[in-house]
Symmetry: C2
Subunit: 268 residues, 2 copies
Amino acid sequence: MSCGSKVVVKAGRYIYLVAQRYFDASRLIKINRPSLGEDVAPKHLEEIRANPLFAATNDESFATLVRGAYVQNFPPHTELITEGEPADFLHIVSTGCVELFSNWRDRETSMTFLGENATFILAATIKDRPYLMSARTLNKSRVIMVPSQDIRTVFERDSDFAKSIVFELASCYRASVKSTKNIKLRTSLERLANYILQLRRDQETNDQVVLELEKRKIASFLGMTPENLSRAFASLKNHGVEVDGQTVIIKDVVALTAFAKPALLIDG
Amino acid sequence: MSCGSKVVVKAGRYIYLVAQRYFDASRLIKINRPSLGEDVAPKHLEEIRANPLFAATNDESFATLVRGAYVQNFPPHTELITEGEPADFLHIVSTGCVELFSNWRDRETSMTFLGENATFILAATIKDRPYLMSARTLNKSRVIMVPSQDIRTVFERDSDFAKSIVFELASCYRASVKSTKNIKLRTSLERLANYILQLRRDQETNDQVVLELEKRKIASFLGMTPENLSRAFASLKNHGVEVDGQTVIIKDVVALTAFAKPALLIDG
DNA sequence: CAATATTCTTGATGCAGATCAAGAAACGAT
DNA sequence: ATCGTTTCTTGATCTGCATCAAGAATATTG
């Protein structure tokens, strides 16, 4: 608790001046400023247009969506939204990495990590209900925020956009189901083994993967303690895995796969 | 393994002749038979029309949806779909109760239980991907099946239907997130305590609730073994709960609530 | 109703994983 | 670079939950 902010939720080198919802109007960049009548198409517009969610959207719908939208850069480890708050904006990760997490009593768990072009939290926006998860940046990140009301408006009159939305939502749902299956059907060691294989697939490497996240985050995501994660890595030596800092060396993919038994319907 | 079926996945009094996908054409009731030119609006049509999912749908869209739809009655404990299969039909529970469950290696877990008007599995239908979960009836149940292709077709041209779909999907997603939070943030005893409080709310009772499901199903749903569920019930005596068969007597709601600490963002 | 499964319960035991504690390594700030 | 902080690791211990086993209660079948 060494920093001077008045609202510090957690001690840590990463917590900066702002620990609660980061919403200083002076740091917001409004994309489209009709009152000024110019600057209506800065480079941010192209950036948003490039997002798959808007790929099939026609120009009129797109204009409606970005009319009230914001783009903002956030420093690392900034809490963007807090669970329970009303869903005023749909958020889209433009660059960087965002963690979704959740609390109950004094406990906290990482739900997922979002990279470029990922949306959060669409379901709350659609249903006009409070967020179920909190979000914080892990790296320096750029986030697009589109007013929920505009999403709902365009959804009704643009069936292509509706299709994109429902497709994205279905993907999120399926990811959540897979996550539940992962936790309920596997031991923590099995989850770690499959996590490493997933990294290997994502990073398209053969015998070496990099843990891009802090180990304590990985532990929380996998539903275990940091201590146990250390021990789990040690146990995986028996299945052809060695760890050196952030690097994981896969010495025997066959053995690891035989142990992990990855499944398309959980890891696919 | 006492019954004579050739495809028995599990011994049990509830497993009948058919243990695999139950799809005997002779027992299907096609709703709308255009080739005959009559019987196009039996009582089943009204039944489907009454489902909230179709409430806002116009008549033309509705006609398209039911053109290829089926209604079928299933005996208890019949496996309706198996995870990994292609999502040919959207399923809707008309009456009865359906369990969604999932397997990995030799393990199985209950994901959720569906009552009247619930849909499954919408996301697979939308994305045209394989089911992530299997489904079986728990009671005698009537199930409506709408071809996935028709869902996708009508979705595109009827924005009211699209809205219903996306709303339903968002609800499913949020339920799944809540379930993940429940499992990752709570101990099994806390999950059971909150489960009892949920039943109390659903059944609108004060000091007594009925466990409508087999205890082994409840145990699997809550992520614990049947043995442990028994012991957990015993432990809850300390928090004002007593069990007699299928009946749970809540002797001290305040104590139970104080222990369970129900949260809107998990149990709401 | 009796016979037979199956589920539920209870006890004994074992293991996975949490907690507590302390040292090592890595990181950030000055 | 140095200091202070945080994370990571390793060991010791403890707890929650699973497993194994067997009897009691309950449901199903003939």
